[in-house]
């Protein structure tokens, strides 16, 4: 890949930045349609109960109420994964968590809608609640899904690659650790909103703040039993996602159904409290890890167990489960690896994907575990990581194909910039530095439902005035995907990103992109855009070459002109070039598609973790801890990220800074926890996310490894940078105070308790001691891939 670009690599603003700052960006809640009704959900007050009867007659009789629906009106189940079709838009038969939608009303205004909810009579028969992992493993609690008493197991996984026992046997040193990662949630500033409008022509339109219009489209088709071609889903501007708007949600289905019943548009805007209960956030994970090392720090074998508290429904849980075991091998050469994991159902809101999906929890455990091992082996934290770092263009023992990889360069960047070697173990008491690394997928290798179609398609249409319009279903959730597409296409056509008209995320107008999740958009939609852009450029260049009677190899598109480079006499304006191309070869419309290479092995679970490329990150965090209060002040963060190529460094830095911010919140403050079935603080006051006062300076280093399959060499940046932040904080606190808090969030209470333990002569550790004695069955033994070279 040549290093010469015109707009790629420039620190350009988002193409829609001025709309955002002038207040002109339109989110769903900013839309009003004539005759629009307000929809509201009645939600469960019980964590677990049978629904004996629902009487909606009093609500229906209230003046101003146009419709009341219950589970009987939407009986078809759905779920984001084809193997987890376990949800109803409104509860059918029983409720499984406090806050679960039970009925929905449409009324002329919010006050009447609220009054109507109060007039719906639901009689419940409460059932024993299953609220913890331990209760889920008991056999004497009622099953959430199914009848009678029994364990509430959702899914387990057990895989062995190579021979872990042999690996442990030849180790010089073996250690085991137990960690816990508390659940947390996305808390995007925009709540979830959907607006549905059903026309008597039989056409349904849904505007929604969703990251995945394609999957919402499919869910509406299934549940409403409408032909897909009669449904139009439009993802409007989205006020933050982070994975929280990646499932099909109840309110999208109820708004649609209420509009079909009433014949009027219906808008449902979830309250902030309802968003906390809708959740789909980070799973609480209890984990155990055992690793064998040679004396020089080289890993000989690893065994990792995870226990996920999944909440009431499947959601992405099967994928989340496998993700807690899949990516450990992408940073370290592990010659023998065993993973066992279990996800259980509990009477709490369903967990799902949040930035890093299933990988921040084991990454936290692994990176703390590695620091402890390094200390015992007399190695410094950077050395043990460099010694085990995966190599570019290699294959892991669990069959993941690694392409570009600048992990060691990332470690070097942050270690040098932070003076890690000079500070680690050397700062005054209360101050410390911690190091950690991570890796993440540039897009899940497989689509959510099995098919052989492209994972992303992009179309380009050029009009006779030279206007370029790009059509893509990729949703811009703030990460800048619209700007990324405009940049890639502007680069191909010699234009500026702001010259490109973007039509985004509308199932009637735009070809499929699977959505903004798994850090897939730059890689997949970007590659589709590169292909489409090259086709347009090629046709325009050929037409100009023919017109000027020069060889097409001499013709370039740059600076808004097409012709011989730098020769005004032998070049034409972009608009003139477009007219020549249309005259010569017809309508100037082209498309590009991207399908990831077939990378999955044939074993059970092989589809999770594969990706066309992995990003790499390394992070150093410096902290200053108050020993009397346990308060942690993060002084500075250094983060290096192997992004392949920074298509727009300004926006890429913003993703790194946002990932650091979110990681710090998870490390120190945020916990999505319950008292009984009630959320402990379903508000932005009680659920503590970092404010402007809490954010430290961040030094970002973008490392460009130029991935051979990435669009112009690019890889992801939206999720990976979060991963090392959390363990780097934990490792820094250990360096500062000599204590180990082996669970997040690392609250002041835990620090004070650990210091008190030390003062009483006990180990300065807070964290879980054991994991359940659960017998994983059906272990799948997988041979290492062909050509796998053990270190």
């Amino acid at each position: 890949m040549s290093g010469s670009f015109s707009v790629v690599g420039q620190r350009l603003p988002r193409v829609d930045a001025m709309d955002q700052t002038m207040g002109n960006t339109r989110y769903v809640d900013d839309m009003t349609l004539p005759g629009m009704l307000v929809g509201r959900h009645l939600t469960s007050i019980h964590a677990h109960a049978r629904i004996l009867a629902i009487d909606t007659s009093r609500a229906e009789a209230l003046a101003g109420v146009h419709a009341v629906i219950t589970g009987a009106d939407l009986p078809i189940t759905y779920g984001i994964l084809p193997i987890s079709q376990d949800e109803n838009a409104l509860a059918v038969g029983k409720v499984r968590y406090v806050g679960e939608p039970v009925a929905a009303v449409a009324a002329v205004d919010p006050e009447i809608a609220e009054q109507a909810l109060a007039l719906i009579d639901v009689s419940y028969e409460p059932l024993d609640e299953v609220l913890t992992l331990e209760q889920a493993l008991d056999t004497d609690h009622p099953m959430l899904h199914g009848d009678g008493l029994g364990q509430n197991l959702h899914r387990s996984a057990a895989l062995e690659f190579g021979d872990t026992e042999e690996g442990f046997a030849r180790a010089d040193y073996v250690r085991e650790d137990v960690f816990f990662f508390e659940g947390n949630t996305h808390a995007a500033l925009e709540t979830h909103v959907a607006l549905a409008s059903y026309s008597q022509t039989g056409k349904l339109t849904l505007w929604s703040s969703t990251q995945v219009p394609h999957y919402v489209h499919r869910t509406l088709e299934k549940v409403l039993e409408l032909p897909a071609g009669r449904i139009r889903v439009i993802a409007t501007a989205i006020g933050g996602g982070f994975g929280g708007k990646t499932d099909p949600f109840s309110h999208e289905l109820t708004a649609a159904k209420l509009s079909m019943v009433t014949g009027r548009p219906v808008k449902i805007n979830l309250s902030r409290e309802e968003v906390f209960y809708a959740h789909r956030g980070r799973h609480p994970v209890l984990m155990w890890v055992k690793t064998g090392f040679e004396n020089n720090g080289q890993i000989t074998s690893m065994h990792f167990k995870t226990f996920l508290d999944g909440g009431a429904y499947g959601s992405y849980g099967v994928a989340s489960l496998y993700y807690t075991g899949a990516l450990q091998t992408t940073t370290y050469r592990i010659p023998n690896y065993r993973f066992e994991g279990l996800r259980v159902f509990t009477n709490k809101p369903a967990c799902g994907p949040k930035r890093g999906h299933g990988t921040p929890q084991p990454r936290f455990g692994l990176e703390c575990h590695l620091d402890k091992a390094a200390a015992d082996l007399g190695l410094d934290p950077a050395t043990i990581r460099r010694r085990n770092a995966v190599e570019p263009f290699s294959t892991t023992v669990n069959h993941l194909r690694i392409t570009s990889c600048a992990l060691i360069e990332c470690i070097d960047k942050v270690v040098d910039a932070s003076d890690f070697a000079g500070k680690h173990g050397s700062l005054p008491s209360g101050r410390g530095v911690g190091l950690a690394v991570g890796a993440y997928m540039s897009g899940a290798g497989l689509p959510i439902y099995f098919n052989d179609m492209p994972q992303s398609e992009v179309q380009i249409k050029v009009d006779r005035g030279g206007g370029v319009t790009v059509y893509s279903m990729a949703t811009d959730i703030g990460q800048g995907s619209t700007t990324m597409l405009a940049t890639v296409i502007a680069e191909a056509l010699g234009l500026e990103p702001r010259d490109i008209n973007m039509v985004i995320a509308d199932t009637d107008l735009t070809p499929v992109d699977l959505g903004s999740y798994s850090s897939r958009v730059t890689f997949m939609a970007g590659n589709a855009a590169v292909t489409a852009g090259a086709k347009i450029r090629s046709r325009v260049v050929q037409a100009v070459a023919d017109e000027l009677d020069v060889d097409s190899a001499q013709v370039v598109a740059e600076g808004g002109r097409v012709g011989v480079s730098g020769d005004l006499d032998r070049s034409v304006t972009w608009a003139e070039a477009v007219r020549l191309a249309i005259a010569a070869t017809g309508p100037l419309v082209e498309s590009g598609g991207y399908t990831a290479p077939k990378l999955a092995g044939t074993f059970r679970g092989a589809g999770v973790g594969i990706s066309p490329a992995y990003s790499y990150s390394a992070c150093v965090v410096e902290v200053d801890c108050a020993v009397d209060t346990g308060l942690v002040k993060v002084e500075r963060v250094w983060l290096a990220h192997d992004i392949g190529r920074a298509l727009n460094p300004l926006l890429a830095e913003g993703q790194v800074e946002g990932g650091v911010y979110m990681g710090l919140g998870e490390a120190l403050y945020e916990e999505h926890t319950f008292r009984g079935g009630l959320h402990r603080g379903p508000s932005l006051l009680d659920y503590k996310i970092p404010t402007a006062l809490d954010m430290p300076p961040v030094e970002t280093f973008l490392v460009e490894s130029d991935d051979p399959e990435g669009p112009l060499g690019a890889k992801e940046v939206g999720q990976g940078p979060l991963l090392p932040v959390i363990p780097a904080v934990a490792n820094a606190i250990h360096d500062a105070l000599g204590i180990r808090i082996d669970e997040v969030p690392i609250t002041p209470q835990k620090i004070v308790a650990a210091l008190r333990n030390v003062s009483r002569g006990r180990p300065g550790r807070i964290g879980p001691e054991t994991v359940p004695d659960f017998e994983f069955t059906r272990l799948t033994r997988v041979e290492p891939p062909e050509g796998f070279v053990a270190p």
Binding site: P13, R14, D16, A17, M18, Q20, T21, M22, G23, N24, T25, R26, Y27, D30, T32, R40, L42, T43, G99, P110, E111, E114, L117, A118, H186, A187, A188, L189, E190, T191, A237, G239, G240, G241, S271, R272, E273, E274, Y277, I477, G478, Q479, G480, L650, L651, E653, G654, E657, G658, V660, Y661, M662, S683, L684, I689, A692, L693, M695, P697, V698
Partner: protein
């Protein structure tokens, strides 16, 4: 879990007469109508966002008589006779405020949902203190939550706007 459940329809109408972005507006509002509802629903000034409805997130920040307030907590009647400024009123004769340009240039908006409220808090800060230190900027924006940016590019944008203001 239900907002306003049980609230009766015993609401009186009042005339609200106030200035919004330099224009006089006069309309009927009920007792419980909030300034946020009046701006977004009655006046179609949807640039002002609501993120929580209970004064926790700052997305609905507007200026009332040049002071930042959370419009979701202000009963509309309270601003009778006042002057209200929203994100739509930050520009002067169509020219964006220095903050609007700086936020756009430096990537201070990602999803953009906190941006209008953040801009108005920043405008109030700079009107009060044209040369804020970074700590003063942090303090001035502490009531506006952002979930995307980690605030860093927001701080930089406020600093850039402040320095350009001093230079002109």
């Amino acid at each position: 879990m239900h907002r306003g459940a049980g609230i009766g329809r015993l609401m009186a109408d009042h005339i609200l007469d106030f200035d919004v972005n330099g224009e006089n507006r006069r309309l009927l509002v009920t007792d419980q109508r909030t300034l946020l509802e009046v701006l977004r629903e009655d006046l179609a000034l949807t640039g002002t966002k609501h993120g929580c409805d209970v004064g926790e997130c700052g997305a609905c920040t507007v200026l009332v008589d040049d002071r930042p307030v959370l419009s979701c907590l202000v009963i509309a009647r309270q601003v009778d006779g006042s002057s209200v400024r929203t994100v739509e009123g930050l520009a002067t004769n169509g020219a964006p405020d220095l903050l609007q340009d700086a936020f756009a240039e430096l990537g201070a908006a990602q999803c953009g949902y906190c941006t209008p409220g953040m801009l108005l808090s920043a405008r109030a800060l700079l009107d009060d203190n044209p040369k804020p230190t970074t700590d003063e900027i942090r303090e001035g924006l502490a009531g506006n939550l952002c979930r995307c940016t980690g605030y860093i590019k927001i701080f930089e944008a406020v600093e850039l706007a402040a320095s350009r203001d001093r230079d002109r």
